[in-house]
Amino acid sequence: MSTAAPITLINGRLVLPTGEPQSGALRCAEGRIAALGDIAPLDGDTVIDAKGKLIAPGLVDLGVFAIDKPAFHFGGITRAALMPDQGVVLDKRSAVRFSAQSGKPDLWVHPLAAATKDLAGTELAELALMRDAGAKAVSTGRRWIGDSGVMHRLLSYCAMLGLVVVTHAEDAGLTGSAVATAGEMATRLGLPSAPAEAEALAVARDIALAELTGARLHFRQVTTAAALGLVRAAKARGVAVTAGVTPAHALLSDVAVGDFRTFTRLSPPLRAERDRQAVLAALGDGTIDVISSGHDPRGPEDKRLPFADAEPGMAGAETLLPLTLGLVRDGVIDTARAFALLAGNPAALLGVNAGVLAVGAEADIAVIDPDKPWIVDSDKMAAAAGNTPFDKQGVQGRALVLLKGGTVIA
């Protein structure tokens, strides 16, 4: 993208790493942010008038299950870290190299290398080869690694390689074939359920092993009060642990499962209201570092089934931005922190020079109207499938212009 003509975005409100958005302009040249603040376009620049809207870093979506460009572009996402759970598992460098190229030219795809061969949780995959083929981190996939010995070896190896390990935190022995969190709702509906403590068990073990090995550990989703407490305490001790969540667990409780609606079948399952409140508190106090979409478009073959027979997952890319901006409107977080959660922190985890508005960073930029109202409609989504648990809800916030590497892509 280095051949792109310089672009200057004017009349915007710059979302900087701290503080309230500040009026100003931003100039991109040779694919990077060349200047920002109280600046004017240079001769020959293409000028884009932001008309008072936010100029923010493009979103970095850590842990998606499909490359779904229309949905990502709709949602202001310029980088997507792809989960290894693909038709061909990302457990070899050829698969990693292929998927790292698959977003070109208008989306960065950062493959997450499968931690173990075929994601079976038993034998380590060729992690160094995959790192050098473009994998930005390592992931255990949709599942937790049940064997503590394997997890120990994985973490110590990744500590040496300097790779973050992205893990799914649910004790598989306790969850079994559960599709819901144990509690009143699962009991009323007669759904196979597991105690929410399955998450805290997994988090406790993995924190202990991360502390032992010095590895950098990222829990892709932490959704319960107990597990968030463990993460909070580990961070206070200086353990290199981070946590993510999707908007679903911040905004919905297991009450949403009420009419067996399979669009609310998620992994981990929706939790009790008190756990949802704990997620909001953890977003506010810094315990949670990343909000991601968990984008996993699923058509009727996977979703128009009895609840327990349906596949988990939601199409989340389009709603990631507006739902997070809703947390700003609700006073849970401020704008700067919203974009740290959506872009800055995940970019830092992946080790990519993006996700913040700073001179020298890659010019992945979104012009965002944070107030623009629209209605989520599963029948009219840009995504490959409309399986959103937020169907028919009114939201606010849309990406108006999207730049990747200093080039307008949407």
């Binding site: 144990a182 509690g183 009143e184 709702m185 699962a186 009991t187 009323r188 509906l189 007669g190 759904l191 196979p192 359920s193 105690p195 009419d259 067996f260 009727p300 073959e301 128009r304 089934l305 009895p306 609840f307 327990a308 027979d309």
Partner: protein
């Protein structure tokens, strides 16, 4: 024979307002008078079923499809007899569970039944919520004959009818339900039904078979069977599936019997005239001893089966009234 029961007057609104639902997918959320209406309607069929000539032509010309996606003998038979005694053409579709478990097939099957213009569809399926899923796709009344671990509403109704005929007013009764509460749709439907009608309901199971948050369904949970039985008016035992008492949830059948088997000795903890119930099929000598199951004057187990046919007749009659153009049921 409609509203034949003279005591019914004033208990519920007239016409379709007495039961303003197209389907019967569960008892959760039903109003007390809606349940009582179905129980009252069933009384006439109890009488009919005791006559030598047991057939009326109320549903003549109607097609009822029993679509059973899960094995069943007694419930299927009960629904079939109920439909036939009302004069309907009853067809049984016994779908092999393996071939219809995945993909669109369930919906496709539902659409196929719908296209054949059934006047009512009775469905049993191994997944919770499956019956609602089908009900949302078809144009005729749907009756849930058991969906996963969710509900089995006609069982709840027939149990309530059995209890009412033996004990009268629900408001004074303590009902103890003991067994695999976690996996039991019978327990859930009974809990909804009996608590709605005002009974005190106790549930008793070992911790591994007791669902979380059951207190929210307005029941009192017990692990100690003797304590749960104390002063009970009705003792309802649930079947425990063999595979669940062989080390998974319970160490062995005899250990289960040791803690939760209804023996004559245990039964003495309940009221002297306590009613003994079991939805069947029974594991004699495990959750219930034969001496208890066959106790004359106390065991209502065969009465439950009898009431099942009457309740299913009432449900089929009521749910097809709109389609048959019965006055007041538009």
């Amino acid at each position: 024979m409609t509203s034949a029961n003279p005591t019914a007057a004033g208990r519920y609104p007239a016409g379709s307002a007495a039961f303003p639902h197209r389907d019967l997918t569960g008892l959760a959320g039903l109003a007390p008078w809606e349940i009582l209406f179905l129980l009252d309607e069933a009384e006439q069929w109890v009488e009919l079923n005791r006559l030598p000539h047991k057939r009326v032509d109320r549903l003549a010309g109607l097609t009822i499809i029993n679509a059973f996606f899960e094995n069943s003998t007694r419930t299927l038979l009960s629904f079939e007899i109920a439909g036939k005694r009302l004069g309907a053409d009853v067809v049984n579709m016994h779908a092999a569970q393996s071939s219809v478990k995945k993909g669109e097939t369930l919906i496709d099957t539902a659409m196929t039944l719908n296209a054949m213009r059934a006047d009512a569809i009775v469905i049993r399926h191994a997944s919770s919520g499956a019956v609602q899923l089908i009900a949302d796709k078809v144009d005729c009344p749907v009756l849930n004959a058991g969906d996963g671990q969710h509900e089995h509403p006609t069982q709840g109704l027939l149990d309530a009818l059995t209890i009412r005929r033996a004990k009268g007013d629900f408001g004074k009764l303590t009902v103890t339900i003991c067994g695999d509460i976690l996996h039991s749709r019978v327990a859930r439907s009974n809990i909804h039904c009996l608590t709605t009608l005002g009974a005190d309901v106790r549930v008793c199971a070992p911790p591994a078979l007791m669902p979380a948050g059951i207190e929210a369904m307005k029941v009192t949970p017990f692990h100690d069977f003797d304590a749960a039985l104390d002063g009970a008016d009705v003792v309802m035992m649930l079947r425990l599936q063999q595979e669940r008492m062989s080390g998974q949830f319970i160490p062995s059948p005899r250990e289960y019997r040791h803690l939760y088997g209804l023996t004559l000795e245990r039964l003495a903890k309940a009221k002297p005239d306590a009613l003994i119930m079991h939805p069947g099929p029974m594991n004699r000598g495990v959750e219930i001893d034969s001496t208890v199951a066959d106790l004359a004057g106390r065991s209502a187990i065969t009465t439950q089966v009898e009431m099942g046919v009457a309740i299913r007749m009432a449900c089929l009659d009521v749910l097809t009234r709109k389609g048959r153009g019965v006055e007041g049921w538009s």
